[in-house]
Symmetry: C2
């Protein structure tokens, strides 16, 4: 056998098996999992929908099972252009590229923009898989903390100013402004406006990742950055995973045609094209209102689950634990007392308390977040959510009692 380690590319240093991923693979049937961000299957097309969809696919068989064009199915891009206009995003079909989930869009943006040591601005915390995609291209991260209104824009401005003094600027800023993964936090309208002003003033791109924009429960949908962008600075990334089906892997990027051109060249080398079959299914669902009709249903399902989780947290969590109150999406982010390491705790919680979460550390590009966890309420049924939070609260109560003596502030 060839000695593998001798021949791997240097960039594989950036590929790490996540211990957490490995640990979470072990989840047994009796564990209630808040770990994955899996949609509730009730949000998928119904059997009735499928009948219509499959009849349609049969009618376009020769095209649906054939190679497609790299840019994406033209019919789908046409419908998408209309769908986007309803959220005030003006996009010609030529400004759209269909991707394999939004993840592929995020990776391709890293590929075309990031040179080693380029500055990429992200929220602290931010979406883990975006960090993993960008890591491959070796950027330097500038992490900006968040409060309940999203990324703290004053801090961003301060950092941009200090970069400017050193004659530097970010390549782009990556944000999930609405119902962010992992925190569930949404950026206020005022901050969105200010962010666009700063992008103009300091001259950088914004990558707006928007998987949850349609899943806002209590308020009107929040205005997309892309809808307010007058300078072609916002690159909009989204997906049908949360509003139709993640099993189709249909995402898309909307950008200036010059950017789209390079994304198409990337995709050609990466996988030639996305499946025509899943693109035709998404086209049919858009065209015939399946997705529009699905969205209110999805909001209702997740709102009810969010409420179940928040109420259970309120009831069971001990003092010293804080969490976000998201207006939509799938996630609640939780801060335990600082002396608790949620990664170390996970093994015990999985095995003894039979409940799973994602330790929050890996969402933090600054190495902080050891005491945090991401909880997803999207998949388990409501009674399981309540029972799971009860168990988790018990585990946290145990941990506080056990580790309180390591509280540095106390020792001080």
């Amino acid at each position: 056998m060839v000695e593998l380690l001798d021949v791997l590319a240097a960039r594989t240093d950036r590929m790490r098996t996540s211990e957490i991923r490995d640990l979470l693979k072990m989840i047994s049937k009796d564990v209630i999992s808040f770990a994955g961000g899996l949609p509730d299957p009730k949000t998928f097309p119904t059997s009735e929908d499928l009948k219509d969809i499959f009849e349609f696919i049969n009618s376009v068989r020769d095209k649906a099972f054939q190679y497609g064009v790299t840019e994406g199915l033209p019919e789908l891009k046409e419908e998408l252009s209309k769908y986007l206009s309803r959220i005030a995003i003006k996009a010609d079909p030529e400004e759209i590229i269909i991707t394999s989930g939004s993840q592929q869009g995020v990776d391709m943006l890293g590929r075309i923009f990031i040179n080693q040591r380029d500055i990429v601005v992200v929220e602290i915390p931010t979406y883990l898989a975006a960090i993993q995609a960008f890591n491959m291209y070796k950027p330097n991260y500038l992490g900006i903390p968040m409060d309940e209104d999203g990324m703290i824009i004053e801090q961003l401005e301060y950092e941009l100013h200090h970069l400017l003094i050193k004659d530097k600027k970010p390549k782009f800023l990556y944000t999930i402004p609405t119902c962010q993964n992992p925190t569930g936090i949404s950026m206020s309208l005022e901050r969105r406006k200010r962010l666009l002003e700063l992008a103009s003033e300091y001259d950088f791109f914004i990558v707006e990742d928007d998987p949850y924009g349609h899943i806002v429960f209590d308020a009107n949908e929040l205005k997309r950055l892309k809808a307010m962008d007058k300078e072609g600075r916002v690159i909009y990334v989204s997906t049908f995973s949360k509003v139709f089906s993640p099993g189709l892997r249909i995402g898309f990027v909307v950008a200036d045609m010059e950017v789209t051109k390079y994304l198409v060249l990337s995709k050609q080398a990466l996988d030639l094209c996305s499946p025509n079959l899943t693109q035709f299914i998404t086209y049919y669902a858009l065209k015939n209102g399946l997705i529009d009709r699905n969205i209110p249903k999805i909001r209702k399902i997740y709102k009810s689950k969010r409420d179940a989780m928040l109420n259970a947290m309120e009831e069971y969590m001990p003092n010293g634990v804080k969490w976000t109150k998201p207006v939509g999406g799938m996630f609640i982010f939780t801060w335990l007392p600082e002396y608790i390491n949620t990664k170390m705790l996970l093994y015990k919680v999985l095995n003894e308390y039979k409940v799973a979460y994602v330790p929050g550390r890996s969402f933090h590009v600054d190495g902080s977040g050891w005491n945090t966890m991401r909880l997803s309420y999207s998949y388990p049924p409501e009674d399981m959510i309540i029972e799971g939070i009860r168990r988790l609260s018990e585990a946290v109560t145990w941990a506080i009692k056990k580790f309180q003596k390591y509280n540095i502030k106390q020792i001080d």
Copy 2:
């Protein structure tokens, strides 16, 4: 607008819009195209098959429309392991990763293996999209010419020996040993054996790309390199695009578990997972013999088309033109007299003779091949193949007459 050219990553220099691609986009309805490598839709699942497939999908709805695991659908990998054993490839499901077409496998292998200036051995000519994928990682190519028995192994040995003197060796050798794209040439069994010996002696990996292995018409299927590999040196890449449907984008890589592990880490950052829906469809087709029953049908269709093209070439092509006689696959490769530039010729041929081909230059990593073209017989109906070759032959006859005076040998 941000000045895009100022902010693009250095690696985008390697992304070129192919003029040929742009030219071939212009193909009008009245052009007979031998350019694309599109499968004949008759090789796709029938309406009858689709009924069964869709019924099955409905029965696994909650899983088919959900996120999958990065490695690929376990049920599919199990079936694939059995399918591979029938071509003498022993692969545990853990040694298999499902990819978005074989293209993604090729890209990911580049990603995990190639450091800048690493040596990658390829055939001259070789598959264009593999070059495009590898280019992103900036290797130095060592191109080995082919004859009718495939890569000239004596030349490979000579080059390996000279590399060794300089204390160098290739990172891997990329080959399509059976019915190669673009030439249709298959490597002889003797050369396959010798190639494996050289890989062992000079210590490098072999990437065996095998999209056409099942589409051999006249002989028994040729023994895969992977089936003869005793040292875990062969990484096997294949796809269901040519034996079932390219519109599903289901490919796979079989490799040592250590290699597969890094491929999984790559895929996680690239697109999280392939669509569960298309994986379930492929699983069903494998499990229920749809693909096994399809293969003889496909062979018959393409054999008849190949014969139609070869016969028409024989009948119409002028003297001084040479072409390959493939035992299977989809392509015939053609050499015109050396003073004819097939790229320059294409514009005229498209517009006046209404027939399309791919100029062969870009398949050659050594910059040669200006006088070559790739002809695909897989898509057009037989009468169109004959008519297309008649037209093309007319164009070539015109070009010979026109450009003969530039024949350097003649001028000498």
